[in-house]
């Protein structure tokens, strides 16, 4: 193979010999297996027209001012301005500007130097006709509302502006104009009064002829006021957002009517108000509720078959205990698993009941409960035995504060049913005192008699 390679290369090289115009670029190329020009040959020479030096670039970018340009300046500017322009030309080093400004001089440069005064829809963000809404605007108080109403009324067309009507002084000669009318001679005053009355009647008649309601608000004006006038202290300024501003914390008229769920007794632990109802039902504080031992068990997926199809829900079983003889089981279903888990937890805490414990460590005797096909048998065990039970019953025992326990689940071992059966069994433990009273016997626990009861 090594022997065949030079032959193949020479043959192929001859067959695909580049054209003379591309021979310069193909000098570094290896063998080609196609007849098109090499990539480096096809590349456009982007730097070909770049000037060699900064001085050359400066000469291209900032050429000397021509005599015609100077004549135009002289026609447009005065002598001081021309001096300033010349001083600026002398001060600015064009070579440095060309070196540091990095202005493009290639053939693909933009035909202008953008000053960003124009908005280009492709490049720039969409122009907003109005500024953003005032974030500090609030609902107007009564006096602010009155001022706003007056301002609105002032905007309405009311005919000729006020203050243009002629007065009595306009109907007398100039020498009486600066004198109070009481100082006028009688005939002058009567003559002026006659002229003034005639003028006033004329004005009133013209106003009547123009129409009764001229200048007042039309129905359209009132509708516009109701629908579009801002009721906030933003001076009715248009905003760039169509979204209504958020309600303030103090809405006039309803402030104080809605109480927030936050209770200072909760110490900020229940700002969402999840435990408020539970607090009332159980009498526990939120801190106590949060300190409970809560355990969610594996979810089941259940579905409600409707004529529109299956509605699938999550069913969750939860236990809650305080680790000291109280235990509750809750079950909840919801389409939303989060809601189901929260509701199951709340139900579990709400259902908490006291569990009888022998010596605060195990149960009374051997107990059994059956839920559906699940039978749970729990056995009392001596101190130090531990919890030799399935994992879910382990969690239950730990939540209830039971430390010595054995268990058998001879039949179905469904978690949901065995949890329920365990709870039922723990609730229905026999009470030795009650048994003894029923039989009319006296009962003494020997463990509490010998060694002064110090057996545990």
């Amino acid at each position: 193979m090594s022997a065949a390679r030079p032959v193949a290369r020479s043959l192929l090289a001859r067959a695909t010999a580049p054209s003379p115009t591309l021979r310069i670029c193909s000098s570094t190329s290896t063998s080609q297996f196609h007849s098109s020009a090499h990539l480096s040959a096809r590349k456009r020479p982007t730097t070909a027209r770049q000037p060699k030096s900064d001085a050359a670039a400066a000469a291209i970018m900032f050429p000397e001012r021509s005599q015609k340009q100077l004549d135009q300046f002289a026609a447009r500017y005065n002598a001081e301005q021309l001096q300033a322009i010349q001083a600026g030309d002398q001060t600015i080093d064009t070579k440095e500007l060309a070196a540091t400004g990095r202005l493009r001089v290639d053939s693909f440069r933009m035909p202008y130097l953008d000053d960003f005064s124009d908005i280009q829809p492709i490049i720039d963000k969409r122009a907003r006709r109005a500024p953003p809404p005032d974030p500090t605007a609030r609902f107007m108080a009564m006096d602010e509302f009155m001022d706003d109403l007056v301002a609105w009324a002032d905007e309405l067309p009311k005919g000729p502006p006020t203050g243009t009507l002629k007065r009595l002084h306009d109907f007398v000669e100039d020498k009486y104009r600066k004198v109070h009318e009481r100082g006028w001679p009688k005939e002058v005053r009567e003559k002026a009064m006659d002229k003034y009355k005639a003028y006033r009647d004329q004005v009133v008649a013209r106003a009547h002829a123009a129409g009764a309601g001229e200048g007042g608000p039309t129905d359209a004006d009132v509708l516009t006021y109701l629908l579009e006038r801002s009721s906030m202290t933003d001076r009715n300024a248009p905003g760039n957002s169509e979204v209504a501003p958020g309600l303030p914390s103090q809405v006039p008229g309803v402030a104080g009517l809605y109480k927030r769920a936050i209770d200072p007794e909760d110490e900020g632990l229940d700002d969402e108000g999840i435990y408020q109802d539970l607090k009332k039902r159980t009498g526990m504080s939120v801190r106590e509720i949060l300190g409970l031992n809560v355990k969610l068990f594996k979810a089941r997926w259940v579905s409600n078959q409707t004529r529109l199809g299956k509605v699938r829900s999550t069913s969750l079983t939860c236990i809650a205990g305080n680790g000291n003889g109280w235990l509750g089981v809750g079950q909840a279903k919801s389409v939303e698993p989060m809601i189901a888990s929260r509701q199951a937890m709340l139900y579990a805490i709400q259902n908490m009941r006291p569990i009888r414990r022998y010596e605060n460590r195990t149960i009374y005797g051997n107990i059994e409960a059956k839920i559906s096909g699940t039978v749970v048998r729990l056995y009392a065990r001596p101190p130090g035995f531990g919890l030799r039970v399935p994992h879910h019953i382990f969690e239950i025992a730990r939540a209830a504060g039971i430390r010595d326990l054995a268990c058998k689940i001879p039949r179905s071992r469904s978690i949901m049913n065995s949890v329920k059966a365990t709870f039922e069994a723990l609730l229905n433990q026999p009470d030795p005192e009650q048994l003894a009273m029923g039989r009319g016997k006296k009962l003494v626990d020997a463990r509490k008699v010998y060694y002064g009861g110090n057996v545990y």
Partner: protein
């Protein structure tokens, strides 16, 4: 009849107790009488009275026999009337399970009884649970298991009660 009458008595008492009866009767024979008296000593039943085929009046229930003495003429019609107990809305005698059957008599010696009374199993006998009693027919009469242990006698296991 032998042990069969005990089996019948056990079923009947459990049924009567679950039916919440106040007074029920079983046939009058020595075996039934001894078990009834043992149950009475253990506090499972309120009264044991031997009377006729009709329920005796309440004042008679405090006595062992009614006014009519047992003779050979009326002994066949005598019955044991047992008063049932209820406490805390539940029957005191909740479960009464016969152990020995006519086809299989279950014996237990002192050692086995001791194990059973402490909650451990012995042979085919399971250990007693909390509040459970076992009645044993011995040569000292029908005894509760703890009485038998005190008297150091074993015998035929009749029933377990809880």
């Amino acid at each position: 009849m032998g042990i069969l009458t005990i089996n019948h008595m056990c079923s009947h008492l459990q049924n009567a107790s679950r039916a919440r009866l106040g007074l029920t009767s079983v046939p009058n024979n020595k075996y039934n009488l001894n078990l009834a008296l043992a149950l009475h000593r253990a506090g499972f039943i309120a009264s044991v009275t031997r009377a006729g085929p009709t329920p005796p009046p309440p004042e008679i229930l405090t006595k062992f026999e009614d006014d009519e003495p047992v003779t050979t003429a009326n002994v066949a019609t005598r019955r044991l009337w047992l008063g049932l107990k209820y406490w805390d809305d539940k029957p005191v005698l909740r479960r009464l399970q016969a152990v020995s059957r006519p086809s299989r008599t279950v014996w237990a010696d002192l050692d086995q009884l001791g194990r059973v009374s402490r909650g451990f199993e012995a042979g085919h006998l399971k250990g007693l649970n909390l509040g459970e009693s076992m009645f044993v027919s011995t040569d000292r009469g029908v005894l509760e298991i703890r009485e038998a242990l005190a008297k150091k006698v074993g015998g035929v296991v009749l029933c377990r009660v809880s």
